[in-house]
């Protein structure tokens, strides 16, 4: 019987997004995706490349919240210019946040309401348009509800499957929205029309509950798996090595 918290189950679900990625740059945005990427790299995906969130490619993980002057193993230089080069090359798998995400995987971090005069201006599109058409992209949504999972996003920052198809083969060539991880489950687009499907639900979450919290009909497989629990070794790594100060519970409360 595992005593894993929901945050730890989410961290492992995020790590799973990079399973099979190989020797590419994992770019996690947020605490739990960062724990996930580093966990994948030091366990089942040993060639995965990851940075410190600043300009260093790390040869060994730093704990979340390490001070700026913490001693670190730097195996390569990763300033933004190099990261952009890696985006163009395709050798990257990013996990971004999403203020809104829709059934075909369009993501919004730019604004709520009409773009011309938004009700709420957010970050801007950042790197989402380029990320989504150049290399695999996954998303992390710490609070699953109908405000985040919407029928249609207000501003397509990240490109989903319908918009990529409408834009043509050059937009589709390297487009791949991989997983969406939330505090309720894991979702993918492995359906004929690339509509969002339940991939697994975290322990105790029901299909009805997650459908209620989602603003569009989810594709429900005949058999809905339960998200796997962290192994004892993974729990130890999360608690003692990757996030000893428990920053993860600020993103997903216990």
């Amino acid at each position: 019987m595992s005593d894993a918290t929901l945050a730890e189950i989410c961290a492992v679900a995020c790590a799973e997004a990079w399973r099979g990625s190989g020797e590419v740059l994992a770019s996690p945005i947020g605490t739990i995706p960062t724990i996930g990427a580093r966990l994948a790299a030091i366990t089942f995906e040993p060639d995965l490349v990851y940075g410190d969130g600043d300009a260093s490619q790390l040869g060994a993980p730093l704990p979340i919240g390490a001070p700026a002057d913490a001693e670190k193993v730097v195996e390569a230089w990763l300033p933004f210019g190099n990261i952009f080069d890696i985006v163009w090359s395709g050798k990257r798998h990013v996990m971004m946040g999403a203020t809104q995400i829709d059934r075909f995987g369009n993501q919004n971090i730019a604004c709520i309401g009409p773009w011309a005069k938004p009700k709420a201006q957010l970050l801007g599109v950042r790197g989402a348009p380029g990320n989504t058409v150049n290399h695999p992209t996954s998303y992390w949504v710490p609070v699953h509800n109908t405000r985040a999972f919407v029928e249609q996003v207000d501003c397509a920052s990240g490109v989903g499957y319908d918009r990529a198809a409408a834009a043509g083969p050059t937009a589709q060539q390297f487009h791949h929205v991989h997983h969406v991880v939330s505090n309720k489950g894991v979702f993918d687009f492995e359906t004929p029309e690339h509509a969002m499907r339940i991939r697994s639900l975290h322990p105790g979450v029901t299909v009805d509950e997650v459908q209620e919290l989602t603003g569009f009909p989810l594709v429900v497989p005949a058999d809905v798996p339960t998200s796997r629990l962290p192994t004892d070794d993974e729990l130890r790594l999360i608690r003692e090595v990757l996030d000893p100060n428990g920053a993860r519970s600020a993103e997903v409360p216990d």
Partner: protein, 282 residues
């Protein structure tokens, strides 16, 4: 041998209403804030600002001097959403050209190469195309691929803040990332660099390795010695971001009175007084 040393006020004297100005750095990191403060003290208006945006964008929105912002994001990093910029967007008081971060890089690169555009995938399929109807695509002459044709973002002036520079305008970056400062300099007709300290050319290698002297005087037109010139944004390794004053800045978006107080305390004062106010000057 040219001596390019000047003051922030001299830089502002070279600027004109309606100019397109690139401001280097990234978010709330190594922004040429002492020059930005001097712009706020001036009568300049109608500016288009091109940036990986931080507080300089918000300040120029609030002063009413910014007419149009060209950006991939505007953020204070530790405070993700820039409140002054948000207010301007939500009140519809500024024009915006919102781009993918890589498209912005490509636009600067095209300007630096003196070509009209550069092709890329970034932007295809996204709202960037809907929101910028002038953006065109281009068909490859070698295949059936159809790319976005990112237009050159030609700058009248670029403003940079470096760690060190010499009087002739070579500039050195001692932190781990010079962001896209080099591209801003090359995309502009004229570039002004502020720096923490002006050094003799012979002393650059005492400060850092050869590769850190990123910007050649070929691309610069003026140098301002501005200790704490990036403050409250960070300028590592010289100093970290001043999170407390950044928070004061963010909080000043709550009311016109709060902004007036912030402005009176930190902006409408001589630069030497700024250093005293933040507790580093004599």
């Amino acid at each position: 041998m040219s001596d390019k040393r000047m003051t922030e006020e001299d830089v502002v004297g070279e600027l004109r209403d309606g100019m397109t100005i690139g401001i280097a750095g990234w978010g709330s990191r190594r922004k040429p804030m002492s020059i930005v403060r001097a712009i706020l003290r001036s009568e300049l208006k109608g500016l288009t600002i091109v940036a990986y945006g931080g507080p300089e964008v918000g300040m120029l929105c609030t002063s009413g001097q910014l007419t149009k912002a060209v950006y991939g994001f505007v953020s204070l990093d530790s405070i993700p959403l820039e409140p002054h910029f948000r207010a301007a967007r939500q009140n519809g008081t500024i024009e915006a050209m919102e781009l993918d971060e890589g498209m912005l890089q490509w636009g600067l690169r095209a300007a630096a190469m003196r070509v009209d555009f550069l092709p890329c995938r970034a932007g295809l399929g996204s709202a960037v195309r809907d929101n910028n109807p002038d953006l065109a695509t281009v068909t490859s002459p070698y295949s059936d691929d159809e790319y976005l044709a990112m237009p050159a973002l030609k700058l009248d002036v670029a403003l940079l803040h470096a760690n060190r520079a010499d009087a002739r305008g070579n500039a050195q970056y001692l932190g781990p990332d010079w962001y896209f400062d080099d591209l801003f300099a090359m995309a502009a007709d004229r570039t002004f660099v502020s720096c923490e300290r002006i050094v003799e050319p012979g002393d650059f290698l005492k400060e850092g390795p050869e590769a850190s002297i990123r910007i050649s005087r070929i691309f610069t037109d003026g140098v301002v010695e501005a200790p704490y010139g990036a403050h409250f944004t960070h300028c590592v390794p010289d100093y970290q971001r001043d999170e407390q004053i950044q928070k004061e800045y963010a909080d000043s978006a709550k009311s016109p009175e709060a902004w007036a107080d912030f402005r009176a305390k930190y902006i409408d004062i001589p630069e030497a007084d700024y250093r005293r106010v933040i507790g580093v000057g004599q």
